[in-house]
Subunit: 244 residues, 2 copies
């Protein structure tokens, strides 16, 4: 049985302010939940699951899952189609990064669409990128829509929020590649050993001050007529060409 | 001034049934509207725009645009944030395709998310792919969410709905590449002259019967830990490697 305060607590976590105060986030559905449960750097605070999920996960369920009815799950869920289980997790803990020269990191300038941000994090994870540096104008990585679209990659990719210009100035020795519409042909670029790949806002691109701090500019060659590519698609294409 | 029947008509077009009966679709916002207005194969039926847009497009506005207030635009709009102009357009008309051997086409098996479908069409347009063959389980290309995420590419890319297995059997001479998790390394594939690239449903992939009809299987090499890639991202990556 659910008590009112639990419903209220879960619903409050759709707000960034509450998530920040509590240091937690919400994930939904067996696929993401199972992935988060198996990751050492993400601790579960509470699970709410229907009988079907409980039966399949008796080991976990015995410890810290509350069984709820389908109707109760619906009351808790922030998704359009609730899916068996909802979990409240402590935000992941990552090791401090000591160098940006020997690894490839992503930098995102004002990616505001939660679905795009989540898809980019998932894509980074596919290509073994473990660090994403976001501008403060990006969507919150613990926004439930972002969490869902990372498909679990949120537990493996460290996302930090920084003043991007200040960050670049502090790391002036790190080479940066800016994805733009008028740069060097991506296909002619050798694999990248380390540095930062900068992806801009879809309609406005990378803002001028940040762009000036990027050593290189690269472009995905266009064969047709579309004016631009979706930011997540562009990220995937560039990573598939430059990651060794 | 808007009359009630106009509001009702526009709202009815959020339904596939109404769009099919009327042979029209809706687009919103200056960027897409301007692109559609400049495309010969898409005829405008009616525009509704605020004064700001009218003033900037006096040539068009004089002919067939109805000026509306911001409040009226909000009543008409199917978007969360209405943006200056809404247009009703006749569905685009395309030339009949005579051969699938000499061009590269995309085939989509059950891409149900409207945003993904729109992003894939935009991506196809970027790479000069002008034909997308959808299974009947895919989202409707004239769904307003799809239209918006194509960013205007809907006027340049021909999207057809087919029984994919029957289509493949009828075109048994056309080579097909299936995007799968266990195929040949994409990076080792030579550029493709013509044929069909098949992209599957994100969670279920390409269904078995269709997969059997594909001559080749290709895979995007994974460097990290994510289980899969978003379908639109995967499409972009593959096209960036195989389009000449």
């Amino acid at each position: 049985m659910l008590v009112k305060s639990q419903v209220k607590y879960i619903q409050s976590l759709s707000q960034k302010k509450s998530r920040d105060e509590e240091g937690v986030f919400i994930a939904e559905g067996p696929k993401i939940i199972n992935e988060l449960l198996s990751t050492p750097n993400v601790a579960v605070q509470q699970l709410y699951a229907v009988q079907e999920w409980m039966a399949q996960h008796s080991g976990i369920a015995a410890g810290g899952a509350i069984e709820v009815s389908e109707q109760e799950l619906e009351r808790l869920s922030l998704q359009q189609t609730p899916n068996q289980v909802i979990g409240v997790f402590k935000k992941p803990v990552f090791a401090k990064i000591t160098s940006y020269r020997e690894r490839l990191s992503l930098m995102l300038d004002t990616i505001q669409d939660p679905g795009n941000l989540g898809t980019i994090i998932r894509c980074a994870d596919w290509f073994g990128i473990d660090t994403v540096i976001c501008s403060r104008e990006c969507a919150d990585v613990f926004n439930p829509k972002v969490v869902q679209s990372t498909m679990g990659s949120i537990s493996r990719v460290q996302v930090m929020y920084e003043d991007l210009v200040a960050f670049m100035q502090q790391h002036a020795d790190v080479p940066a590649w800016a994805a733009t519409l008028h740069g060097a042909n991506l296909h002619e670029l050798p694999p990248v050993e380390g540095g930062i790949l900068v992806i801009g806002n879809e309609s406005k691109g990378i803002h001028e001050e940040l762009l000036r701090l990027c050593r290189h500019r690269i472009t995905i060659p266009r064969k047709g007529q579309a004016e631009s590519l979706n930011a997540a698609v562009a990220t995937g294409i560039i990573l598939s060409h430059i990651v060794k």
